[in-house]
Symmetry: C2
Subunit: 402 residues, 2 copies
C-alpha cells in the first residue's frame, strides 16, 4: 500500500553517470546493483546512521568519504551487510576493490552502500562477476532506474529534481531515496543519493547537506526504528558556472532547493511507508523550546494507539492527548489546543464545546491529515511527518526478513 502522488520527473546531472543491473544478490529478475561514477572534480558530502550497530558499508563509506577524492558509489539492495563484523568489512572492501580494479583507481575512491537483510554475508563473487558490465554500461541508465534498483519493501521509486535559476545560469539537483520500514532516521534515511552540478567547497557542501537533512529526512518516522544502514550522500560535480561560495544569494537559493528536494524524497518515504494508508503531518506550535516541540511531535507520530486511530480514520483526540502527555518535559495541559485539519477538537485542555463528531470524521477520512497542536507556551515550533499503523505493516514485517 502507498499514499498519494508518485511523480517521477527527473533529469540527468552533468558530470554523473550511472548504471544498474541484476546481479542476483537476493532478488530474481530485477536490478539490485547500482553504480554512480562522478567526474574527477566532484565533491561528496555524507551523513551516516547513529545506530550503534552501523553496517560494514557505513563504516567503510564514512572512512573513504573522509579521505576525500571519492568518485564512485556502489550500492546493492537485498543484503544490508550489517552485524557482520570484520568479515563484513572485508566483504565491502572486496566489492569496492572489484570496481577499483576495472577502473584502475585506489579502492578508497569507491563508497559502498547496502540495504536489505541484516546479518548475512554479502555474496562478494556476484559483485566481482558484475563489475566489468556495470562499468561498461555507465551512462546507459537513468536516475529512475537507479531508484528502482535500490528498492526493498518499497512499492515505488522515490525521485526528485530541482533547478535553481540565477539569470542565465542554473544549478540542477536530482535525488533518489529508498526506505519503507525501519524508518526514523537519526542522521539520514536508509539510503538517499543526490547529485548536483553545483560548484562549492567541501565544507559548505557538508554544512548544506546537514541543514537540509535536519529539516527533511531527520523529521520523518514510519515506525520509530532507526536503520543500521542509514546514509545520505550529496555529490557536487562543479559543472555549473555558479560558485556557491562566492555568490551567497545563489547559495541561499541552492539551500532552499536542496531542502525542498529532500523534503519531497522524505515525504515520498512516508507515503510509501510499510502498510501506509495515510500521510500525516504533525505540527507542534507554541512550545517553549524547539526540543519540546520535537519531543511532542515524535511522541504523537510514534504512538501505536494514535497510529491505529489514524488507520481507522477515527478522530480520537483522547489518544492524541495521551500521546502528547506521555513525554518527559512538562507542559500546562490546560493551555493546549488541538486541531485536525481545520477542525478544533480541544481548546484549553478540554473538548471544544463546538466540536461535532461529523466534522472530525470528515477531516479524518482524507488520505492526507494535519494534526496541529498548540501549547500556547512559547514561540517554538516543529513539524514531523508520519504514516498510520495498519494491518499491512504487520503483514509485511511478519513475513519479510529484514
Amino acid at each position: 500500500m502507498a499514499v498519494g502522488d508518485n511523480r517521477l520527473d527527473w533529469f540527468p546531472i552533468d558530470g554523473i553517470e550511472l548504471n544498474t543491473l541484476a546481479a542476483g544478490i537476493r532478488y530474481q529478475n530485477r536490478d539490485d546493483l547500482l553504480l554512480f561514477r562522478c567526474a574527477p572534480e566532484t565533491l561528496i558530502a555524507g551523513l551516516w546512521t547513529r545506530n550503534h550497530f552501523p553496517a560494514a558499508p557505513v563504516i567503510l563509506a564514512r572512512a573513504h568519504q573522509a579521505k576525500g577524492g571519492a568518485r564512485y558509489l556502489l550500492i546493492n539492495s537485498g543484503n544490508a551487510n550489517a552485524a557482520t563484523g570484520d568479515a563484513g568489512l572485508q566483504d565491502a572492501l572486496s566489492c569496492c576493490q572489484a570496481v577499483a580494479d576495472v577502473e584502475q583507481v585506489d579502492v578508497s575512491m569507491v563508497l559502498p552502500f547496502s540495504t536489505g537483510v541484516i546479518g548475512e554475508r554479502l555474496p562478494v563473487g556476484r559483485f566481482q562477476l558484475a563489475a566489468e558490465d556495470l562499468i561498461a554500461g555507465l551512462g546507459t541508465k537513468t536516475w529512475l532506474d537507479a531508484a528502482s534498483a535500490i528498492m526493498t519493501t518499497d512499492t515505488r521509486q522515490k525521485v526528485a529534481c530541482r533547478e535553481v535559476s540565477l539569470g542565465a545560469r542554473r544549478i540542477r539537483l536530482t535525488g533518489i531515496a529508498k526506505g519503507a520500514g525501519m524508518i526514523q532516521p537519526n542522521m539520514a534515511t536508509m539510503l538517499c543519493f543526490i547529485g548536483c552540478d553545483a560548484k562549492v567547497q567541501q565544507e559548505t557542501l557538508q554544512d548544506m547537506l546537514r541543514a537540509a537533512t535536519d529539516l527533511s529526512l531527520n523529521r520523518i518516522t514510519v515506525d520509530s526504528d532507526t536503520s543500521t544502514n542509514d546514509a545520505v550522500v550529496l555529490m557536487a560535480t562543479g559543472r555549473s558556472e555558479v560558485d556557491l561560495d562566492q555568490d551567497l544569494k545563489a547559495q541561499a537559493e541552492f539551500q532552499d532547493a536542496l531542502t525542498d528536494l529532500m523534503l519531497e524524497l522524505a515525504h515520498g518515504l512516508v507515503r510509501d511507508g510499510e502498510g501506509a494508508t495515510k500521510f500525516v503531518t504533525v505540527e507542534v506550535a507554541g512550545a517553549a523550546t524547539d526540543a519540546q516541540a520535537l519531543e511532542i511531535a515524535y511522541s504523537v507520530a510514534n504512538s501505536p494507539l494514535m497510529k491505529t486511530a489514524l488507520f481507522a480514520s477515527d478522530a480520537n483526540w483522547g489518544r492524541l492527548a495521551m500521546a502528547m502527555g506521555k513525554v518527559a518535559t512538562p507542559f500546562d495541559a490546560a493551555k493546549v489546543d488541538l486541531f485536525i485539519g481545520d477542525v478544533c477538537l480541544m481548546r484549553g485542555g478540554i473538548k471544544n464545546p463546538a466540536y461535532q463528531e461529523d466534522d472530525g470524521a470528515r477531516v479524518m477520512a482524507a488520505e492526507e491529515i494535519l494534526l496541529h497542536i498548540n501549547l500556547n507556551a512559547g514561540d517554538c515550533s516543529e513539524t514531523v511527518w508520519t504514516s498510520d499503523l495498519s494491518h499491512d505493516y504487520i503483514k509485511i514485517n511478519a513475513e519479510y526478513r529484514t
Copy 2:
C-alpha cells in the same frame, strides 16, 4: 487473544469489603462499578500517572489520598473521565459525594478511579442512582468480581494473592489489575488495587509500594503508550498481628511478597496485552549502568519491527541488533552477545558461527520467549516484559474508541 496461564486464586482481606454492580456507564449486561470500603484504621498508599494530561479522577484521588484518612475506593470502567477539565473534576467529586452522602462521611474519604474512553463526560446520575445499592451490597462480592468489573479491552481478570507466614502469624495480600493497551506505565499501571492486612506506618507503606512498583508495573510495556489514568493503590488494614515497622525481617518478607504479587499482576497485563500471542522477557546484562540496561531493554521491547518478528516467530537477530543500536547511550557493538532462550545468535557483535536457523526457529515457536542481551561492559542489569505486535492489536485499536 491472550497468552499463557490464567490463575484465579484469591482470598479476602480482613478489614476490606467490596461490591460491584452494573450501573450502565457504558457497557450493557456487565458490572462496571466497584466500591472498596476499608476498616477505619486502614492506611492507603498510592502512585499516579506521570502523563501530563492526568485524568480528573487521578487529580482528585491523589489530593484525597494525600489528606490521609481515605477509606473508600470508587472505580468505574467504560469512561476514563480524562481530558475533561474542571467539569470532569466536578463530576468525579459528585460521584465521590454520592458515596459520602450515603455513608455520612467527608467526601475526601472517597478516592475516585476511572478507565475507558477519554474525553467524554462521566454520567454522574448513574453513580448517584447506584450509590445506595453499591453500599448496601458491600461484602457480597469477591476480588474476582472486582477484577471483572474494571475490565475494558482486557480478555480476562488479573488477580493475585500472597501470604507471608511468620511462625504462627501471617500477613495476607490480594491484588487486582486491569489494562491491555496504552500500557507502558510510568509510575503505575492503568489501574491496580492491592489490599493487605499488614500493620505499618504510612511512610513505610508508600516506600514499599514504590519499590515493588519499580520492579513490576514500571517494567512492562505493551505498546509504549502511557495512560492518562494510571494508578496503583495499596490498602493496609492493620488487622494482622505483625507490625512491619517493628519487625524488619517481616518487613523484608512482606516487601518480597508484595513485589512478587505485583509481578504476577504485571505479567498478567502483558499476557493479556492487546492482540498478544507471545509473552516476552527482555533481559539486558553486563551494562555500565542500570539506566543503560533499561534504555536498551525498552528500545527492544517497544520496537515495532522486533515485535512483528516475535509475532511471526522469526528469530530475527538483525532486528534485535537494530533495536538495541538505536538508543542514545553508546556501547561497544563488538562486545555484544545475544541469546534467544538457550540459543546464542550473536557473539562479540557478529553472528555466532555455531548458530543454526533450526535452533532459532525452535525457541521462537514457544509462547514464552526470553531475549537475553549481554553488553559485557559492566555489572548492571535490568529486565522488562512485553508482548508481540499482531494483527489483532491493529484490529482492536482500529475498532475500539479508547
